[in-house]
């Protein structure tokens, strides 16, 4: 079975392969890693050779892992080293780890993985070959030897390691095949002896780093060993330089010396002269050089310089070299590079870098002017920052990071034609870090202080939270009504409200009647005081003056609107009961307060009975009309008042104020009282009526004289009583009267008050006031007397003289603090 299985598997595989091969497409072949190499132990590259690509485009990915770790990484750079390669840069190269590298080839069909390659960076180091191989034959003491010189391979990145290469040299005669390999060591030159003359040799050199591999062999260099019979080769002049624009030196490179000791002579001639001179000094500047001192240096002249090599067999002359000393100046690097840390007060410390020009350069005389340039970089950094300084010999550095180490170098150049000097030796700068400490201390102190402040503030907030809030967000003030405390209103305690208003002891007790009458006189001046004549011991209260109300629109509209009548009716129904209770209480409790209450009432009525000017609706106050300027009098709206008015015989033009003569009664106090006096009043009213047109409905009774002084007769207005019915519903019908211009100005400051005239008495002793002619009253204006079907007699019980403002503490509330009573609110109470 097994065999069958395996054979069947084989068959299937074969089929698949054949199919694949037929179609020409299959999964890719296995790639192979050819080589991994590191140039300098800090980076390395790997190359692979792809397998067959299976007919489809194939992607190659290289994976590696380190040591024995599980994690697999992918090649960081596929490009730098060419196709099919992976370059590991410094960051990815660790010379101490062994890399396990595999390459995977993927195409649409499948993938294939190469065998893993274990790479140890140190072992795969193979530098580039050395460069600049130069050969020289030298004959000394009749011995010919070959001097080979070269340079180590150049590295793109020098790095921080000094690489020590080991070199190896191999040579062979040109015609032969076998190489002779000579280990050289770490030097970059070698003297080869035992060479056959007359032969041409081929020489190569290679190097190695540490334990790695040998580099490739450098390119071949051929040299012919002179057999001692030929003249020397032509030397070449390398360069000429002047360090200070006063002298200059020239160097040359000799060729092969042809087997014999060779002399070299330098010859020159100046521009415009025929004379040829020989080099004045061969020694000062070293071998193969010529030094021209000051005497022999001329500026702005072109030198024609040649070098001749002479030996026994002949001589050879180099090519001429033309040089104008002015343009070949290359100074020495600057010297005396010093750093100084300067710490000015109140400013950030900075570094001052100073240097001196090279000693030979004569800058003092102005002959040579140097320009300087410096470069610096952080110690660990890679790139230099070059700063051109100009002709000054100092530089201030402000923007260095404290605590870091920097390397700085300077070089110079003549300000005109010339070349830059070598860089000065490296100078290290270390910024002291104490600045930071200072800053830190400051910051710490600041932090501590601010946290303390925050703590204190939060503590005070906690303790006096709302006070602060109140300080920050002051509460919105509510409407202010003179005499009425909204808080009291809210609380709903009419007692207090009344007391605030000045009405004490509401309702007044029975013996208040006379007093009330007295106190019904309402003054038109602000500071009038109602003097209770029968004060029984509450002088203070009586004397309380309620200031004139000034705001004329404090919600009176609602009170006065007839549309609200129903509302008020409803509410006022509740009133009497409350009134009663209050009255009882008041009367019982506060005997003496009645007077004050009276006065207060009056006084308050003064305020509140000012009819709303703005109220466009008819004020249905049955109060008698009041003169405009008059301080509010009284609108006692109860018919009782009307009665009283009617009954009043004095000529004081007091608006019918329903005196609270009823007040001395109990709950229905005003009413009952009035009931009693009803007949009287009716008679009086009739009397009134029978009198002249101008019926003064007097509120005041009994004591007109005293009060008259208070009153301003001409300011008063009065309503003519239309008729008084004495039938079942006695009512005072007040005529409509034109407001004939009795709008004298009051001395009362504040809003002008208007008083409406009584138009009708409705519904049980309710005097409906005539809306002012100049006020657009819409409702109730011309109610005929018919509507006044209220019987005086009736409803007495319900008559609340609660036109006294005291009553409607509730009303007040809903009137939003209006100081005026809305008589309409009382209307239903009479029912």
């Amino acid at each position: 079975m097994k065999q069958k299985l395996t054979s069947s598997v084989h068959i299937i595989l074969l089929l698949a392969l054949t199919v694949a091969s037929l179609t020409g497409q299959s999964y890719p072949g296995k790639p192979k890693i050819i080589r991994c190499r590191s140039l300098e132990k800090e980076t390395f590259s790997c190359w692979w050779k792809p397998g067959s690509d299976g007919g489809l485009p194939t992607n190659y990915t290289l994976f590696y892992s380190k040591d024995s770790e599980e994690k697999i990484y992918e090649c960081p750079d596929y490009r730098t080293s060419g196709p099919n390669s992976c370059y590991f840069d410094k960051n990815h190269t660790n010379r101490w780890t062994t890399y396990n590298i595999t390459v995977m080839a993927t195409n649409n069909i499948g993938s294939n993985i190469s065998d893993p390659q274990y790479v140890d960076v140190t072992s795969i180091v193979q530098p580039d070959a050395p460069v600049n191989l130069s050969l020289e034959t030298k004959t000394s003491d009749s011995i010919m030897h070959l001097l080979a010189k070269w340079s180590p391979p150049p590295l793109a990145d020098v790095g921080s390691y000094s690489h020590v290469y080991h070199y190896e040299l191999r040579l062979k005669p040109e015609e032969k095949e076998e190489w002779e390999t000579i280990p050289v060591g770490a030097q970059t030159q070698y003297k080869v002896i035992k060479l056959q003359t007359g032969m041409t040799y081929v020489i190569q050199v290679r190097c190695m780093l540490g334990l790695g591999e040998w580099s490739e062999w450098s390119s071949e260099k051929r040299i012919r060993i002179p057999n001692g019979e030929s003249p020397p080769e032509k030397p070449t002049i390398i360069k000429c330089r002047s360090p200070e624009k006063e002298t200059f030196t020239c160097w040359w490179q000799p060729g092969s010396d042809g087997g014999h000791p060779t002399n070299y002579t330098l010859l020159y001639s100046k521009e415009g002269e025929e004379q040829v001179y020989e080099c004045p000094d061969y020694k000062t500047a070293g071998p193969n050089s010529c030094y021209f001192d000051k005497k022999h240096t001329s500026f702005w002249t072109i030198y024609n310089i040649t070098v001749r090599a002479t030996n026994e067999m002949g001589s050879n002359v180099s090519d001429p070299h033309y040089v104008d000393v002015t343009y070949i100046v290359q100074p020495d690097p600057p010297v005396n590079v010093t750093l100084e840390l300067k710490k000015p007060i109140n400013r950030k410390p900075y570094l001052v870098l100073t240097w001196s020009p090279p000693p030979l350069a004569d800058v003092r005389s102005g002959w040579l002017t140097l320009e300087y340039e410096l470069r610096l970089k952080p110690e660990e950094g890679e790139e230099w920052e070059t700063i051109f300084v100009g002709q000054q010999t100092q530089y201030k550095m402000f923007s260095l990071n404290p605590g870091k180490k920097y390397i700085v170098q300077i070089h110079c150049k003549p300000d005109h034609h010339g070349s830059w000097s070598e860089w000065s030796s490296e100078k290290y700068i270390q910024i002291p870090t104490d600045f930071r400490v200072k800053d830190m201390v400051v910051w710490i102190i600041v932090g501590v202080l601010s946290s303390l402040i925050c703590l204190i503030m939060s503590w005070t907030m906690v303790l006096k939270g709302y006070r602060m809030i109140a300080f920050i967000l002051p509460p919105v003030p509510g409407p202010k009504i003179k005499g009425i405390d909204t808080h009291l209103l809210k609380r709903g305690k009419s007692e207090e409200l009344l007391s605030a208003l000045g009405c004490h002891g509401f309702p007044p007790t029975s013996d208040c009647e006379e007093l009330l009458i007295e106190y019904l006189e309402v003054e038109d001046s602000e500071d009038q005081q109602l003097m209770p004549s029968h004060d029984n011991g509450h002088p203070g209260k009586n004397a309380k003056v309620i200031p004139k109300e000034t705001d004329s629109d404090s919600g009176r509209g609602s009170c006065d609107s007839p549309s609200l009548l129903s509302e008020k009716c409803r509410e006022s129904r509740a009133l009497p009961s409350t009134l009663r209770t209050q009255d009882i209480r008041d009367i019982q409790d506060k005997k003496g307060e009645k007077r004050s209450w009276q006065t207060q009432c009056i006084a308050s009525e003064q305020e509140t009975l000012l009819f709303n000017n703005e109220n466009t609706k008819s004020s249905t106050w049955p109060a008698a009309q009041l003169p405009n300027n008059q301080p509010p009098l009284f609108a006692y709206h109860s018919t009782v008042d009307a009665h009283k008015i009617a009954l009043s015989t004095t000529n004081v033009n007091i608006a019918p104020v329903l005196v609270g003569s009823e007040e001395k009664h109990h709950p229905q106090y005003p009413i009952t009282e009035s009931v009693r006096d009803d007949m009287e009043k009716q008679r009086e009213m009739e009397n009134l009526h029978s009198k002249t047109d101008q019926t003064t409905v007097q509120v005041k009774q009994n004591r007109p004289d005293d009060k008259s002084s208070f009153l301003n007769p001409e300011l008063m207005d009065y309503v003519e009583v239309h008729k008084v019915r004495q039938d079942e519903e006695p009512a005072v019908l007040l005529k409509h009267k034109e407001n004939s211009g009795k709008t004298e100005k009051y001395t009362v400051p504040g809003a002008s008050k208007e008083y409406t005239k009584v138009s009708t008495v409705v519904d049980h002793n309710i005097i409906v006031l005539m809306p002012d002619s100049h006020i657009q009253h819409t409702s109730v204006s011309q109610e005929p007397a018919m509507e006044m079907s209220q019987n005086l007699q009736q409803g007495q019980a319900e008559k609340s003289m609660s036109y006294c403002l005291t009553v409607p503490s509730e009303f007040k509330r809903e009137a939003s603090g209006s100081e005026y009573m809305d008589p309409s609110s009382f209307m239903p109470s009479f029912k």
């Binding site: 415009g272 000051k294 500026f299 702005w300 005389s365 002017t369 005109h416």
Partner: protein
């Protein structure tokens, strides 16, 4: 160069030895010698279409600078009376010089001008450090 005939110090020592006034005179002579050839040169190269515009403007700029430099040196040195003498003599030489200058090739012309301007610069610097040694000397 057409100014090769002029005796000018070839080295630092020589330049330092010469008294100030003579050095100034020398400078002015040099500048004067180049006045005309420069203008000729400018006219000459304007016809060269292949030169970029920068070169033309640069050449003009240089000629102006030379003139300004001459004027500046004269003023700063306060040489007025002497210059008259100098002018007379230099004018004579200038004519012959300018003739020579016309015959030079462009590259020679530029080469000569470069050299002479370097000379003038060096002499001026020496003068400056002699007169005012404080500033960067």
């Amino acid at each position: 160069c057409h100014t090769a005939g002029m005796p000018t110090p070839n080295g630092k020592e020589y330049a330092q030895k010469i008294p100030r006034e003579e050095l100034t005179h020398l400078i002015l002579k040099l500048l004067q010698a180049w006045k005309e050839p420069l203008s000729h040169f400018n006219q000459h190269i304007e016809h060269h279409q292949e030169l970029p515009d920068d070169s033309l403007s640069k050449a003009k700029q240089i000629s102006n600078m030379v003139l300004e430099l001459k004027t500046g040196v004269e003023k700063s040195m306060g040489i007025i009376s002497n210059s008259l003498n100098g002018m007379a003599s230099s004018e004579a030489t200038g004519l012959s010089i300018s003739n020579e200058a016309n015959m030079m090739s462009d590259s020679d012309f530029i080469h000569c001008f470069r050299r002479d301007s370097n000379k003038v610069q060096s002499y001026l610097k020496i003068l400056k450090c002699r007169i005012m040694p404080e500033n960067s000397c």
